[in-house]
């Protein structure tokens, strides 16, 4: 029983440290993600505390964390909301994804990592963190703001794009030929369309698999059935090489109504646990010795990542008829990157694309998960100060304050 004892000791220490870090994060109202990553870097190979016995558990826990992250993301949205976002902000979504993928793609080519790493890095820099952003908007009391639907629509489109992107990436990483890859992609896209159709027309039938509205709500039944269904579908998706995460996302979308609400409530604690394990696992796989050398590239990517997100948010908000200050708020709100960048980078790290990719992605997310909430918080004073400053420089110039 020596092994069990060691596993418990290690896991206990890790989870307790994460708890303390989570407390610190909520105390200073920042995202816990960067702290979990740092914890992962501190443990494990080349770190302060090597984790031997519990590595297997952490690895499976991390996989579960990805599934739960995508499942709860899918539960957030109804199929109607996805289609609404697609109709309203499709062009903003396309601009957002292209403009924000470019820095990552360019970085991969400049560093000489090749096209596969470019596909990965494009995804890492393109997808914002809907978790961090939703929390920041709530904390800053901006849920009711008129630019907020624009921000949310862009996030919805990113999430939909991810449902198409992850299978492509999975196929490419598995070293399929392009033909085999496009077959997988066709299967994934077909599944996405089918699930959206089912969710729109027959979601009550899918919902019955998890919970029947006639009986009283039973959290235990709801938890076991929704988790069971999700893992089963994720397993099928993985077997078809479509990516387990996408399977989980589609289950989340197909469930709707009060059941989705209930499932989200019972699954959230589980997601918090395994998502934290996932961030630690990513940190564990990253050798902290590589972090300093990744820092310059990550900083450059962070600067361009802030600029490109602010620009797309600004443009999307202007299209929706939002006034000047609201456009900057929308742009700054989108800056944060987090869980999904790590999910994407994690796939590449497991596939062994490039040893330096993990440290760069970790560094990038560390910066962006911290910069994002700061950008959202300080965008208004910054824009005002800048305007005052530019007015003072050209006293005869056109006044812009009337536009605020």
């Amino acid at each position: 029983m020596h092994d069990t004892a060691t596993t418990f000791l290690e896991l206990g220490a890790v989870l307790f440290v994460l708890g303390v870090l989570g407390h610190l994060a909520s105390r200073f109202s920042i995202s816990p993600i960067p702290l979990y990553l740092v914890a992962g870097l501190a443990f494990g190979h080349g770190g302060l505390l090597p984790l031997g016995a519990s590595e297997e558990f952490i690895e499976i826990g991390a996989e579960l964390g990805v599934i739960l992250l995508l499942l709860t993301l899918g539960l957030e949205y109804t199929a109607e909301e996805l289609l609404y976002g697609l109709r309203r902000q499709a062009s903003a979504g396309v601009l957002d994804l292209t403009v924000n993928a470019v820095p990552g793609v360019v970085a991969a080519f400049v560093l000489g990592w090749g096209p596969l790493a470019a596909v990965v890095m494009g995804g890492v820099t393109a997808i914002s963190s809907s978790g961090i952003i939703a929390k920041v908007l709530g904390d800053l009391g901006r849920i009711g703001n008129r630019e907020t639907p624009v921000v949310l629509s862009v996030l919805v489109l990113e999430d939909l794009a991810m449902a198409a992107y992850l299978p492509v990436l999975t196929a490419l990483l598995a070293h399929h030929t392009l033909a085999r890859g496009s077959l997988t992609v066709a299967v994934a896209l077909g599944a996405l369309v089918a699930v959206l159709y089912i969710a729109l027309r027959h979601s009550e039938k899918v919902t019955l698999l998890v919970y029947s509205a006639r009986s009283d709500r039973n959290d235990e039944v709801l938890l076991l059935r929704s988790l069971g269904l999700t893992m089963f579908v994720a397993g099928v998706a993985q077997r078809m090489q479509v990516s387990a995460a996408v399977g989980a996302f589609l289950v989340g979308i197909a469930l709707s109504g009060p059941v989705a609400e209930g499932a989200r409530e019972v699954l959230t604690p589980l997601r918090d646990l395994f998502a934290a394990v996932f961030f630690v696992f990513f940190g564990l796989q990253t050798d902290p010795a590589h972090i300093p050398s990744a820092l310059p590239a990550a900083s450059l990517l962070a600067v361009s990542g802030v600029i490109t997100k602010v620009a797309t948010g600004w443009w999307a908000a202007r299209r929706a008829g939002i006034a000047s200050m609201g456009r900057y708020r929308a742009g700054a709100a989108l800056v944060a990157r987090g869980e999904f960048s790590i999910v994407i980078a994690g796939l590449a790290v497991v596939a062994g694309v490039n040893a330096k990719l993990g440290p760069l992605a970790a560094c990038y997310v560390l910066l962006m998960a911290v910069l994002g909430p700061l950008a959202a918080r300080f965008v208004e004073p910054t824009v005002r100060t800048f305007r005052r400053w530019s007015q003072r420089r050209q006293p005869s110039g056109p006044t812009v304050t009337g536009d605020v």
Binding site: A134, I143, G144, P149, A323
Partner: protein, 160 residues
């Protein structure tokens, strides 16, 4: 008065409107039942100056204080509790054959299968009206049943 409705993907629904005094006011209805009362900034029309999150219960109390019967939410609860059943509200119009007649005269349950569970008159909810209840023009009749049955009650109350 124009009330604007905007979906907030992943959060819920926002309704907002301008008051006669020139301020903009909104309510965000979240999926989990909470409400946010939003008061917009007078200078920046896109920004909320105040945003107060209310629990479902606090929202009910506020709406009661503002004088509105929250019958719609009650109906939503009913239809959620009994799958397949819907609640519907039917107003007694001036031309209705049942204006100024007794509820029992409609024989609604026998003829359609749906039940009349309440009547709203002058913002007052009269629950479980008896067969000797007399309808008057402007009453809003609340029926519960399958979608076909409640539609049939609507036809009955309009056309006889």
């Amino acid at each position: 008065m124009d009330v604007e409705e905007t979906p907030l993907p992943g959060i819920g629904l926002r309704h907002d409107f301008s008051t006669r005094s020139g301020r903009r006011l909104g309510v965000v209805t979240r999926h989990d039942g909470r409400r946010d009362l939003v008061i917009y900034d007078a200078e920046d029309p896109d920004a909320s100056r105040e945003s107060i999150t209310l629990t479902a219960e606090e929202g009910d109390v506020l709406s009661e204080l503002l004088g509105a019967p929250h019958i719609v939410e009650k109906l939503a609860d009913i239809s959620r509790a009994f799958a397949g059943l819907v609640g519907d509200q039917i107003q007694i119009l001036a031309g209705s054959p049942y204006a100024n007649r007794l509820l029992g005269d409609t024989q609604a349950r026998t003829r359609t299968g749906a039940s009349i569970v309440a009547v709203v008159r002058d913002h007052q909810v009269l629950a479980s009206p008896r067969p000797d209840f007399r309808f008057s023009v402007g009453d809003v009749v609340v029926v519960v049943g399958t979608p076909e049955n409640t539609t049939a009650v609507g036809r009955l109350l309009r056309e006889g």
